[in-house]
């Protein structure tokens, strides 16, 4: 069995993270993780719901020390928690704030600040094959689909990303992330980069533009902002004075050239993007203003197999078919032609139309229903979904309340149209063009009913 270190640091006295109280060392991180591990219940699976990036990372490490798997669903809705509970009867929640954990066993992050650090002898090794994390995609059947990530593969992914971004040698960058630690991109590009990419992070998750300013001010240069097109667009639109930034990283949706140019001009830092998917992990990077083509991470191989592109090599476990349309270039780079239209990504959260359709149709009282993504894009690449429902007995408010139990708030339809029937064709399919026409006709009508 291969052994892979928990952390890539050279010294126990290296800085692991920056907290509001000041920097914290690898030594303290290890002592805290080891103390937390002793307080966790026997279950082998846990939902790490810590909002604070440092506490999340301590929780992850505590789990790894005893061979536990961290479950990281795309949404934390009641329905998702129930499904996870059905699949893993031993699951417990690790929380650091208000979260409705239903009747699941729960551990609230304890105060471990008074710990002695003498017992820390070195950086422990973790079995490389251990399923460290299970991430979920929405699947097409209404059930989330689990993807297991071994600790060895996650570390190889993090090192490939850090190497590509030039973080492994030279000055140590400090990461400020606007994305949550639980979601794949935030997990890879903040938590794993701190553990294996030579880049301590700021423990908070700044939300408002002014929060980002304060977080950047609290950490030393060089600074790397890990963000999304949406957060970046909001930051640029805000009238705030930004501290010096040295690097920018964006993912979840491709940047527009306009936003990339505005960001590099205003922030005077190179803006790089990462492309990947939950199934494969990170695949490639680019700096749009230099080159629109994507360069695969070291070792990653992309090849065409009929209609599909298959990713393999490097940190990728097995051969993973990709959902997106790619044009492979002779030199190994590729152009991203379009994302799979069924996949929906909003502010770092992912779902699919098939999954959402299943959820709305599963509501008692809904005769038929469908989600739809209209053909209009805002400059910040934020799409809002709408939905049609045939549900004569339910009010719009009731429908939304029931959907909210099933799907993450960012996917709730805006608006939700109640209709008499859906424009299904004679094979029962819902052609996109017909949904677009229905959307446009309903959109014209003034609707002033309470939502």
């Amino acid at each position: 069995m291969s052994r892979v270190p928990l952390l890539g640091h050279a010294s126990l006295d290296d800085i692991f993270a920056y907290l509001p109280a000041g920097p914290t060392t690898v030594r303290r991180f290890l002592a805290t993780a080891s103390a937390l591990a002793k307080r966790l219940p026997a279950g082998r699976h846990f939902l790490n719901l810590c909002q604070d990036r440092y506490r999340f990372s301590v929780g992850l490490a505590a789990g790894l020390l005893d061979g536990r798997t961290s479950l990281q669903p795309a949404s934390q809705s009641v329905e998702t928690l129930r499904q996870i509970q059905r699949q893993h009867a031993d699951v417990f929640c690790l929380c650091d704030g208000a979260f409705d954990s239903l009747d699941l066993p729960r551990v609230d992050f304890p105060d471990l600040s008074a710990l002695g650090l003498e017992a820390v002898a070195g950086i422990p090794d973790i079995p490389g094959e251990l399923v460290a994390v299970t991430v979920y995609t929405s699947g097409s059947t209404g059930l989330p689909m689990a993807h297991d990530k071994s600790w060895g593969a996650l570390v190889r992914n993090a090192r490939a990303e850090a190497s590509r971004l030039g973080l492994l040698d030279g000055a140590r960058h400090t990461i400020v992330g606007t994305v949550p630690a639980q979601h794949m991109y935030g997990f890879e590009s903040t938590v794993l980069l701190a553990m294996h990419g030579n880049s301590p992070f700021w423990s908070g998750k700044p939300f408002y533009p002014q929060d980002i300013v304060c977080a950047l001010q609290a950490v030393p240069r060089p600074r790397l902002l890990v963000t999304t097109p949406f957060h970046l667009g909001t930051l640029l639109a805000a009238d705030v004075e930004l501290p010096t930034l040295d690097r920018l990283l964006s993912a979840t949706a491709p940047l527009s050239r306009e936003l990339a140019a505005a960001a590099e001009a205003r922030l005077a830092a190179p803006l790089e993007e990462i492309y990947g998917c939950t199934e494969s992990g990170q695949l490639a990077s680019r700096r749009l203003l230099m080159d629109a083509a994507w360069l695969p991470l070291d070792g990653v191989c992309l090849e065409r197999d009929g209609d599909r592109i298959i990713a393999s090599g490097g940190h990728i476990e097995g051969r993973v078919p990709l959902a997106d349309a790619l044009e492979l270039l002779p030199d190994g780079r590729f152009m991203l032609l379009g994302r799979n239209t069924d996949l929906i990504s909003i502010a770092g959260k992912r779902s699919s139309l098939a999954y959402l359709d299943h959820q709305i149709r599963a509501i008692p009282g809904v005769v038929d229903g469908a989600f739809f993504q209209p053909d209009e894009a805002s400059p910040q690449a934020i799409v809002r979904l709408c939905a049609f429902a045939v549900a004569p007995e339910l009010s719009e408010r009731q429908l939304l309340a029931r959907l909210r139990q099933r799907v993450d708030a960012v996917f709730l339809p805006r608006p939700l149209f109640r209709v008499e029937s859906l424009p299904r064709n004679n094979t029962g399919k819902l052609p996109r063009a017909k949904l677009q026409a229905l959307y446009e006709s309903l959109r014209q009508k003034p609707r002033h009913a309470p939502r």
């Binding site: 408002y208 533009p209 929060d211 304060c214 939304l400 909210r404 960012v410 609707r447 002033h448 009913a449």
Partner: protein
Amino acid sequence: MSQDTSPLADDVLLAEVAELIVSALNLDLNPSEIEPDAPLFGEGLGLDSIDVLEIALVVSKRYGFQLRSDNDDNLRIFSSLRNLAAYIARQRTK
């Protein structure tokens, strides 16, 4: 949590902020339909964190201050139209 001793938002500001929310988010409803004490998130208007950032942006431009989330006030500020308007009344510089 300290007692709220600042000026309460008046009806004019309440209506103005309701209008701001509806136009910023492109909502399909009349501003007067937003109930001042109903939750903006979840069961009420059903807003999410993306909406909050968009509202924060227009609020900061219109009223001349930046929102911060360094404490739990954030949840309280956006808990209802009335609380948001009251917060704006306390923080505004224009």
